[in-house]
Amino acid sequence: MTVVAAERAGGGVRRLVREGGALDRFGVPVGLAAGFLLVWELVVRLCQIPVFLLPSPSVIAVTLVTDWRVIYLNIGSTLVAVLGGFGLSILVGVPLATLIVFSRLAERVFYPPMVASQAIPKVAIAPLFIVWLGYGIAPKIGIAFLIAFFPIVIDTVVGLRSVPPEMLQLGRSMGSGSLRVFLKLRLPSALPNLFGGLKVAVALAVVGAITGEFVGSQSGLGYLLTSASGQMDTPLVFAVLVTISAIAVLLFLAVEALEKFAIPWHSSMRSRHLGP
């Protein structure tokens, strides 16, 4: 009995240390981050760098706590812009990709302006969006959408096209209509690619929303960022940046969790770690 328990405990330790174990999963990144912060803190203190140039991590942490209320009040509108833009990019991107896959004409019509729209810096069109859509949440959603829908369309097109032709022949040999073949064959096959696009898109949507708030806004983390840097409140700038990164990471993890739930069968979900 005790031997079994000891073995189990030993196994637990081994699992902790082993590749893919808890230590590997959380220990390494946490350790690296802690080391980085420590060096940062020491450099700032030893070189006596002024706080408006580079605040130390501890100052940023304190600011995060003391100014949490103003940060918190601005999270909401940014989150609405991010999720609105992200949701809109899915609603538009997936049907657009479908259209492009099925119609050569749609491909010729939509692809060039789509690529062109990505070549223009979003900061450069943001003022136009303000002119067209006003100072409310709409232009932020618009910019988040504009930047996020591109990877979704590109990846969904690749996914929908990656079905082997024999698979489609098989579907037709079973007398299926194109709708059923699309829903039951093409769409599930495209899911791994679609999720790849979603993960890129959700991070980009955050960038888009902040960009929109930079240009013209009375609320949101982007607005807070510009006003804080205008007042030389560098610790607050860093505190907001930390918050924005945290939001992006959490959204990314949420999409990844959804991916794990939706496509447990895909090889990317099973062989995540290559190497010895």
Partner: protein
């Protein structure tokens, strides 16, 4: 109406396939549990040719192929890689239209996809997001039939190929041979009259391939459906087929037709008999003559 008939057929055949193996070997290749009239041609190709592309870039793939496959007969198309034998077989499905000539199945000319068939390709083409049972039941599901009516037959077929207990597993949990067996079950579950097999065992290792040949022969003997098999393995063709069409290089035509008169069920040991060796020898000589093989 059609679906109802089909479902009944599936049920009765599910009952018939519960582990019955043909008892005694027989020399007659067209012997069957269902009454088969000799000469009752099921698949007929009349001067069928196929071109891909247009104008200058047009490729002549199939050249004037004519044959008649009897109901319940096992036909093998044997030829070098890329000769067009797969295209020839796929023409029978109606998924690929012929450029000229006529194709008839059961007396009806094929002008659109013929759906009373099962197909298995070299890739197993399983849907990774469905478990084994659900992959087999794709067949009735995609046809819009009642899936539940086919579940027992699907389980029986999986058991027949040694996959009982794997119904709930996902394709990524299976070996290549097991996956290919699932794909064969999918081709058979709706009890189709015609089975098109396009090098279904080409990607398997030699031992698994032998096992699959035995399994396929057993399943075929129980159901006696018309089979068109594409292969580039001479022993596999001789082992399985009633008749072999030796196909020429592209544009492909039937260079030689060889009836295989070996008793069934054939065991793997049949490959060591002089009769078997003689068939292999004939076919090999045919490939030498066509320049496919060079000494």
């Amino acid at each position: 109406m059609n679906a109802v008939v089909r479902q009944n057929a599936a049920r009765s055949s599910a009952a018939a396939s519960s582990g019955l193996v043909e008892p005694a070997p027989s020399a007659a290749p067209s012997r069957s549990s269902v009454a088969v009239q000799p000469g009752d041609v099921f698949v007929r190709f009349g001067n069928v040719s196929k071109f891909f592309g247009e104008g200058e870039g047009r490729v002549h793939v199939v050249d004037d192929v004519s044959f008649g496959a009897r109901r319940g007969e096992f036909i093998a198309f044997l030829g070098p890689s890329g000769c067009g034998k797969s295209t020839t077989m796929m023409l029978a499905s109606g998924l690929v239209p012929a450029s000229s000539g006529t194709i008839e199945i059961g007396g009806t000319r094929i002008v659109k996809p013929y759906t009373d068939l099962g197909i298995a390709f070299q890739q197993d083409l399983l849907m990774d997001w469905r478990n084994v049972l659900s992959n087999v039941l794709v067949q009735p599901e995609f046809r819009g039939w009642r899936v539940r009516d086919y579940e027992q037959r699907a389980r029986d077929l999986l058991a027949l190929v040694g996959l009982s207990g794997c119904e709930e597993k996902y394709p990524f949990e299976l070996s290549g041979g097991m996956r290919q067996r699932v794909s064969i079950c999918r081709a058979l579950v709706h009890n189709p009259e015609l089975l098109l097999l396009d090098e279904p065992f080409g990607a398997l290792d030699a031992l698994t391939r032998d096992q699959m040949n035995l399994d396929l022969q057993r399943i075929w003997q129980e159901n006696r459906k018309t089979v068109l098999l594409v292969t580039h393995s001479i022993p596999e063709a001789v082992f399985l087929a009633d008749r072999i069409f030796v196909m020429s290089p592209r544009p492909t035509h039937i260079a030689q037709e060889i009836a295989i008169d070996l008793p069934r069920p054939r065991s793997l040991e049949v490959r060591e008999t002089p009769e078997f060796a003689a068939y292999v020898h004939d076919i090999t000589r045919c490939f030498y003559q066509m320049g496919v093989l060079r000494s």
